[in-house]
Each structure stands twice: as C-alpha cells, then as structure tokens.
Symmetry: C2
C-alpha cells in the first residue's frame, strides 16, 4: 500500500528542514560548527541537577514519575508567573502554562488560532521552527524585512492594509534568531498600534531575552500591550538546558484553555521530573547569578567572533552586532549564494546555516548566513572564523 496517498493536506507540502540536512553532515569528525543554536554545555548546572534529580526521585518519586497536570507542575508555574510579573512582562491577572519547550507553545497557539489560509506575518529572516509550525497548519506566510532596529514597520503596515486574512504577526523581538537584532522601543509601540488598528494578534517569542550582555533593556511587547493582543512565549532552554524541554506561554485565559485541551491530546503533560528539577534549582540557587554567568560567557564569545570576523572576513561581508542571545547574521554582497559558500566551508570543516533556511521562500538564493557563537569553544571560534575568512576570500574572488 502506498501510504503517501493517505497524507493530509497539512503535511503533503512539508519538507524536512535544510538545517537538519546540514546537521547530518556535522557528524563529520573535526568539524567546527557555528550551525547549531545550542547553549554551551559547559555552562549546564550538571552537578546541581545530578544531586537534585537523585533527591527528588528518592523523596518525591511518586509525584515525579506519576501522571502530572497538563497546565504544568504548579510550583514551577507559579514561579514563572511571579518572575514575569516582577520583570514587568506580565500583570498579576495574566496566566501562564508550562509547555514541552517554547516550541510547543507556538504549536498549541497556532493549532488553536490558525485556519488553513489564515495569514501569518513573519520577520525575514526568521526561525525555521516557527515557519514550519505555521506551514504545518497551512497558514499563508508573509514576510517583512528585519532592519537594524527590527522589523520594517512601513512594510508591515502595507501588508496589513492589503491583506484581510492576516491573523498573527510572529516576532522574536529581542536578540532575534537568526539576526541577533532587537526591536527598538519606538518600533514596539508602533507594532502594537498597528496590531490594534488592523485587529491582529502578536506572537512574541522571547527565548533569548534574558541573555543580554550589552546595551539597555527594552520592555517586551507583552509589557507594553494594553489590550491582550500579545501571546508571550518563553523558554528554559537557553537559561537552563534545552534537553529538558521546558517552556512557558502566557495568553488570554480563553485561549490558554483551548491550548490546554490541545496539549492534552498532544502529550498529556510535560515531563514531571524535569519540571521539578528546574523548580528546585531556581528556588535553591540564584537563577540571576546563573544567568549572569551565561551573559558574561556569551558576551565574551560574541565579541571574540566579531573581532575575528573584522580581522579575517573580506570587508564587503557585513555582520550584525547583537547585544545578547546566541546568533549573529552575516551578509555577503548581493549575488553571492550562501548555500554555495556552505559547500566550500564544509570542505574546510566549518559549518553555518545559510540564509535560505530562515526565509519563507526557501528555494531562492540568499547572500546571508547565520552564525552561532554560544556552542563552540573560544579556540574553535578563532580557528573556525579564520578558516571561514579564507573560504570567503576565495569564494568571492572566484
């Protein structure tokens, strides 16, 4: 029997992400990868987690291993809510649920909101996991360029004016993946004004917001939102560890209720032991001290990568200058194809993500590429950027 004849319209058109295909090549020994989006494993609190896991399983094993609550482990949920209230992101009236990673929040919201053909505006470039999620519910995707101070609000309004099917704007507002860019306060206000005027919702995906290593804090869109238009997604992946799959969402109560029903049919609830480890860690240790360590480490690595780029890359290759997060974004002059560059780089054992993986039209040619600075060691950053510089010089002179 040919199973492909049975596929739903949702998945017929879906393709395995190009990043995944690249990742398969990364198993190659000796490769220096700037392709991932992973935190530095040397900064995981492994020792603390090992002690906590043992203690929790010994003293609260019946809770840690039994079915849990779909909304999330209550103490962790409360802790997340309190923290977001203290940060000014939420008010006391807002509610939060725990999801299996930030990604699940985006999926549950999209399942609950998007009919086939509904429009979702995405930043270009954007996060492939977001784009593929919207694609998997047959959303119509529209792109708006990311400028140095964030999404191009003029283009945004043009799109909203000319398309009545748009329901959601998806933005990674702070230290964007892949660009590293943060939306300015002025633009945040403008975005909220447009959301009101054109009656759309905003997904504010903020997994990197805690990782600022320079510049000034900017309030989240959610903090500025007066009319419950922002659905806010956060994550423990970048501040604790991604393998735990812990994230959270805040949304208007009736939407959260639908999302909970969808979560019941998706995975019933999130892994309980990891929720308990996270809760015990953040209450017994200073999470702010832990985050301060991450900020310092990633700030140092980012600075190093930028310095190496300025030293070894052709002057015509531009890069963004992030104030936090895990990524910066490079642009070659018009006409150079970063997918071709990637092939050359892989021959020299260096990997990155070509811009095509971050774009709505992933068949077109782009001169951009994403570079991650959090995972590689400082030594590998030096060596890798130097090699990539050589590859770039050859590639652009060829």
């Amino acid at each position: 029997m040919d199973i492909t004849t049975k596929f739903s319209d949702r998945v017929k058109h879906l393709e395995a992400s190009a990043i995944r295909e690249i990742f398969k090549l990364l198993a190659k020994p000796g490769i220096i990868s700037f392709a991932g989006g992973a935190p530095d494993p040397e900064l995981f609190p492994k020792k603390e987690f090992a002690e906590l896991a043992k203690e929790i399983l010994e003293t609260q094993g019946n809770t840690a291993l039994q079915y849990g609550i779909t909304e999330g482990y209550a103490p962790l949920r409360e802790w997340v809510k309190d923290r977001l209230v203290n940060q000014g992101v939420l008010t006391k009236e807002d509610d939060v649920i725990i999801g299996s990673g930030g990604q699940q929040g985006i999926d549950l919201a999209t399942k609950s909101l998007i009919n086939p053909g509904d429009g979702v505006i995405c930043e270009e470039p954007s996060f492939i996991g977001g784009l593929n999620c919207f694609r998997s519910y047959n959303a119509q995707l529209y792109g708006v360029p990311v400028l140095d101070d964030g999404i191009d609000t003029e283009k945004l309004e043009e799109l909203l004016k000319s398309h009545s099917n748009i329901k959601v704007l998806y933005t990674i507002s702070t230290f964007q993946n892949p660009s590293g860019i943060t939306i300015s306060l002025e633009k945040r206000k403008k975005i909220l004004e447009l959301a009101e005027k054109y009656d759309i919702l905003i997904y504010e995906d903020n997994p990197y917001g805690e990782l600022r290593f320079s510049g000034e804090e900017v309030p989240t869109l959610k903090a500025l939102d007066k009319n419950s238009r922002v659905i806010y997604f956060g994550s423990f992946s970048k501040i604790l560890a991604p393998g735990m799959r812990l994230g959270f969402v805040s949304a208007p109560a009736p939407l959260l209720e639908r999302m909970i029903i969808c979560k019941q049919t998706e995975d019933v609830h999130t892994n309980v032991l990891s929720q308990m480890i996270a809760y015990e860690f953040v209450t017994r240790n200073s999470i702010d001290e832990h985050i301060a360590k991450l900020r310092a480490a990633y700030g140092k690595k980012c600075r190093l990568m930028m310095d190496c780029m300025d030293k070894y890359f052709p002057a015509a290759v531009k890069h963004t200058c992030p104030e936090g997060g895990l990524f910066l974004y490079c642009t070659m002059p018009e006409g150079y194809d970063s997918k071709e560059l990637m092939k050359k780089a892989l021959e020299r054992n260096v990997a990155f993500v070509p811009g095509t993986s971050c774009m709505i039209d992933d068949k077109a040619t782009y001169s951009t590429f994403r570079m991650n600075y959090s995972t590689a060691s400082e030594e590998d950053i030096e060596t890798g950027i130097k090699t990539l510089g050589e590859v770039l010089h050859q590639f652009m002179e060829a």
Copy 2:
C-alpha cells in the same frame, strides 16, 4: 479584545474532558478513586531511577541536557525496535521513533493523515485522549460497539461499506481502555481483511499489552499485518512510569518521516534525561522481571475488585473480566444514568469515570462506567467497592 472570535475551526467545538472535571473533585480529602488510569506508584523503580539519574547527569550531562534528536535517543530507539522484533510485533525492516508519550504518536499520525471531514472509526467505548485528538483535527467520528471478543466486525463492515470518507480505524486491541476487553485472534484477522478490502489504515494503540495476568497471548494486529496498514503505538507509561512521557510509534517510513517533521514543530524532541534513564534501566535490569511484578500486582488487584463487585454489587450490574491492563467496565441495566450514579458516589467519597466520557456522543446518557484497579490500595479497593455497592443498591432501588 475578544480572543474567542479568533479561534480556529479546530478548537471552537472542543470541550475540556469531563474526566478532567471529575479529577478536580478528587482533590477532596479521603476520596477513594477508581477514576484515574495511572499505574501504582508503589511499583515505580524510584531507587534505581534516582541512582541512574545522578550517574547520567554526572557522567553524560552534556548529552542529557543538550538538544537531542527528534527521532529519539538512538540507543533507546534501537532497544525498542529490537524488543518489538523479538516479540514478533515488528520485522527488522520496520522502523520506530520515540515520542513524548504514546499520545504524541497518535497526535502526529493524525496530523499527518487526517483532513477535516475524514472518517475515523472508534471503538465504543474508547479512550477519551484518542477521541479528543481526532476531534481536534476535525475528523468525522464513527463508533462501533465493543463486544466480549472485541469490536463488532459486522457493524464495522456496514460502516465501511456505507461511508467512503473513512481513512482510519482506531483500536486499543488488547485490554482495551476502558472495557478491559481483548480482540480475539479470529476478529483480528477479519479486521485486517476489512482494512485491505476497504483500503483503510489501522491505528493499533497498545499501551497495556505487556500487562497480561491471565489467559493466552494474542498476536498484535501489527504482527499479523501483511501490507503495512497498521500504525503501531506503544508506551513506557504503564511498564515504567507515565511522568517520563515516553512512548513509541512504528509506521511506514514515508509516514514516519512526515511525523518527524511535525514533531520538530511540536516539541523538537522528547526529554533526553528520561530517555537515558529508561535506556539504562532496561539494559541494566531485567525489564521482564519488572513487568512480571506489575502483572502479578495488577492481576491480584483485578481479582480482588471483581470478587468485591460480585459480593457487594447488585446482581444486575455486570462487569467485564479483563485478562490484563488497568481497567474493567461495568454496566447497569438499561435506563440508569452513570453520571447520576457518580454524583451519589462522590457524596460517599468514591469516584469512577462515567461511560459518557468514553463515547463519541458525550451528551447522551449511558448506564456504563469505567473502574481502574491499578492505583488504589487493596484496602481501598475493598472499602470503596463495598461503599459503591451500597450506593448502587440505593440508586437502583430509588
């Protein structure tokens, strides 16, 4: 802004499960609950897990806490496949992926296969998590009664003959939730014949199959399947611990590939630490010895519950006699409403799941109810069934 105006067609009609509402009442102190579907927490291997968790985080913490592979932790995936091959469920050519509980497999398959309006045939009664999953993708549900030897194959063929939109039959083939009934070998062959004749797929959901405490093994539908019509779902929830959220799926390769793309957008991958704990546990200990303990314990509790029912329940109330699993199913004479019975039982601090929660038309009245025997202690089974017997006598004489 009224968020409800933005809901997708998928979730507009969804309702929080009635079981959940019952569960809220279970917080009442002193209640004896036969309503859950949870394993006995006293049988969780807590001590072993505590040691393993500590060791894994100390020695393989970078793997346990970093992003993992969407398909699942490779050693666990191999182990599951080997076990299923050894059990005769799969052939060496079949493939398996790990999901966040058995539920996620059902969700990913349904997302990949079911268009709005496609037909899914379910056993009546059936598992609410399955029914709600199909509802959340706007499937058209059709019910076929469960008889003493499993699904009514005549009714099944009538349905298949008269409806061209049917794509999937959903069956919990062994120790069914909620009935406890196992489909006979003869009927399994008939079901596969009908699937072939009417070109439909079969979801075989088998979370309880390992928990046989009496009678003879029956081959799974998957083992009998000659033409890749069966998508097979398994789970670690009942043989290890549900809080870990670990399940697995076997499906034809092109479908698995779509499901993996959907899993990437749903939760990226399954919690890594729990996959590693499960793998180390099953390879260092005898999982068969562990399962033998569970079988003995649940067999004893099931026997006790049936004995108490025969002693204390009115003779007119019938119950199924399961050979394994976690549930048995009771039927009062026609006309009595088990939702009304539940109110009376809750007044006396005893809880169960009324049949309405297991049916496609969950607004109708049913004289049936589901009883779980795995969670309560033996003492509570005695006390609870005696009390429920009193409630039943009063209810049926009123």
